[in-house]
């Protein structure tokens, strides 16, 4: 959050006249900012201000407002009973079985899908990068799951598994797979994996492109097997790309909502935390509880991101300063 306030002040300082505080280190030999340099700063701030303002206005303020809402009893069905209740909502949510079931489901989906996607995505990345026939065809096909509307794909999977209608419904014998918890969760994960493996693969392919061809050839001549070339040469070079892909996919998977909404609507304990928050808010119109869940999800995501960024070290995107002038 400290970075956000920094931009806010930077934006403020850009002000109408762009009054940049002149550098006060007026020591001899240290030139003050030239006119051109100052104009550049002003232009930089002016160009960034709209984007920064929109991003902060639509996220920073609402999340703070969300914290405020989460401290109140606030049910739109009983608006008169609105009052400040401190942390009572948090106690309610954190001692609730539905919350922990949904949390478990979300974690399960996140861990399984990201793990499977990493393996499949790596395979797909290698195919997209190295195939010697039909490279364009493979890349084009792989982009379709990435681009397709999640809800559309979810309906396709739902009808595929609907008894009577679907081509997959009788695959594992009679019964309705979407109405049993284990099989329904498996189908949700299948739908997630199908949809997002190409994205993972594209991020990994970017890393794959950084692996020097000479190094692979040299390793090959030194008698390294394909597996050794993969683990000893490619993986180390690709590590930053892998971490970026894992971070983005993990956070994305944790937000799973669309597929569950369409496939099971959260029936039979298949709700994710997003689904539960949505149900409390839009179906239940309970802003207090809904906001509490929002804040908890935000914290969970922040913790995941923090752990990853610790792993990243300096490899985090944006931390390199190559864009700077000179």
């Amino acid at each position: 959050m400290s970075t956000e306030t920094e931009t806010a002040t930077a934006v403020d300082r850009a002000g109408p006249t762009g009054a940049v505080p002149a550098p006060r280190r007026g020591r001899v030999g240290r030139p003050t900012l030239s006119e051109g340099k100052r104009a550049e700063r002003r232009l930089g701030w002016l160009l960034c201000a709209p984007a920064a303002l929109v991003m902060l206005a639509v996220t920073a303020y609402p999340i703070l407002y969300s914290v405020w809402l989460s401290l109140q009893r606030f049910d739109l069905k009983f608006p008169d009973e609105r009052e400040f209740v401190g942390l009572a909502n948090y106690v309610t949510v954190l001692t609730n079985d539905y919350w922990w079931t949904a949390f478990g489901v979300t974690m399960l989906i996140t861990v399984v899908t990201v793990a499977v996607e990493l393996v499949l995505g790596m395979g797909l990345a290698v195919v997209m990068h190295r195939t010697i026939v039909g490279r364009g065809l493979v890349r084009t096909s792989a982009l379709i799951p990435y681009g397709i509307v999640t809800v559309v794909a979810a309906f396709s999977w739902r009808y595929a598994w609907t008894p009577g209608t679907g081509y997959l419904a009788t695959l594992f014998g009679e019964g309705a797979p979407l109405t049993e918890r284990a099989s329904a969760l498996a189908i949700i994960m299948l739908a997630e994996i199908w949809k997002t493996t190409p994205f993972m693969a594209l991020l990994l392919m970017a890393g794959l492109a950084l692996v020097p061809e000479d190094l692979l050839k040299a390793a090959s001549m030194d008698g390294a097997t394909a597996w050794q070339r993969f683990t000893r040469v490619m993986l180390p070079v690709m590590k930053p790309a892998i971490l970026v892909a894992l971070l983005f996919r993990t956070l994305d998977a944790f937000r799973v909502f669309d597929n569950i909404f369409v496939l099971t609507a959260g029936a039979n304990e298949t709700s994710s935390v997003s689904m539960l928050a949505y149900n409390n808010l839009i179906r239940g119109l309970n802003l207090g509880i809904g906001s509490t869940m929002s804040v908890l999800i935000f914290l969970a995501v922040a913790i995941i991101a923090f752990v990853f960024v610790k792993l990243f070290g300096t490899a985090a995107p944006g931390s390199t300063d190559e864009g700077g002038r000179r």
Binding site: T7, A10, A39, L43, G44, W45, C48, P50, A51, A52, V54, M55, V58, T59, Y61, P62, I63, Y65, L69, V127, T131, I132, L137, R139, T140, S141, I144, G147, I148, V149, V151, A153, F155, S156, Y159, Y167, W194, F199, L202, M205, A206, L216, P240, F248, R255, F257, D258, F261, V273, Y278, L281, I282, G290, V295, I297, F298, V301, A305, P317, G318
Partner: protein
């Protein structure tokens, strides 16, 4: 990966892998298309390929206000959000890629935070804020969050593109007396057009795809987008199965995606990969 790569056997191996990928990617899409062409009688036969073909489902959805309005909303909202996000993103990305100013790192940091932000956390406060501002169930009510969440994508992708543009051209323009602003408009903007276009496609796909905001921040046909309308489809009477109509509508909103992917595959791949690693 030596010379053996070019042998016939290697070609077959890669070809086989290609087929696996293509089938894996296309089957769900073909399936929903197939359902959309089935007649009411054969809808539940479980056959992958329709036994009887019909366009009835398409006629049905285009004759209902529910779908036509939603399609208009989807197109309008996605186009406006894309236009605004690309303009703001281009400005910011130019500054990030080319200019030196304090607060640049903070901007990149904020973008990264937003890219990781759980959208559901915004649903409850935005629901309440938009209700009090009168933005609930309006186009701007959806356009604003879409712009916000596509800006990080736009800034990363565009600044990666901008960094590849040759520096000297801008310097030359400045030496000829152009200001930074003129250098931006006259020299960099035309060179950057392909990158901007690619970013626009990615942002459009993102807005077109959204479901969570669309279902939480709308309540009527006034601003419901197609993904949401789909989930509310019912038959004309309660005894009618909406499956065919849902599938037809699903196919209609998949068409733009297929077109983008077919015509701009190279751009989309380069946009996604460059923004990811070099950003």
């Amino acid at each position: 990966m030596a010379a053996s790569d070019t042998t016939v056997a290697a070609k077959w191996r890669w070809g086989l892998l290609d087929v696996v990928v293509v089938v894996f990617a296309l089957v769900p899409v073909l399936w929903i298309a197939s359902l959309s062409f089935k007649t009411t009688g054969t809808l539940t036969d479980g056959n992958f390929v329709p036994r009887e073909w019909t366009l009835d489902n398409y006629r049905t959805i285009f004759s209902t206000n529910q779908f036509v309005r939603a399609l208009g909303n989807s197109i309008g909202i996605a186009l406006i959000a894309t236009a605004v996000a690309v303009v703001l993103g281009t400005m910011a990305a130019y500054a990030v890629a080319r200019l030196d100013f304090p607060g640049k790192k903070a901007l990149v940091g904020v973008s990264l935070l937003i890219a990781m932000f759980p959208q559901v956390s915004l649903v409850s406060p935005l629901f309440e804020i938009e209700r009090s501002l009168g933005l609930f169930d309006t186009w701007p009510g959806l356009i604003l969050p879409y712009i916000t969440f596509s800006l990080p994508l736009a800034i990363y992708t565009l600044s990666a593109f901008f960094k590849q543009i040759p520096w000297d051209l801008e310097k030359a323009a400045k030496m000829d007396g152009a200001t930074s602003g003129q250098a931006f408009r006259r020299v960099i903007a035309p060179l950057a057009a392909p990158g901007v276009f690619t970013t626009a496609i990615l942002v459009f796909i993102f807005c077109w795809n959204d479901f969570l905001f669309a279902i939480s921040l709308t309540s009527t046909e006034r601003s419901r987008t197609v993904p949401v309308a789909l989930s509310f489809f019912t038959g004309e009477s309660q005894f009618e199965d909406p499956t065919g109509a849902i599938c037809a509508a699903a196919v209609v909103i998949t068409i733009p995606i297929i077109l983008f992917v077919l015509f701009f595959q190279r751009r989309i791949v380069s946009g996604l990969t460059s923004g990811a690693v070099k950003g």
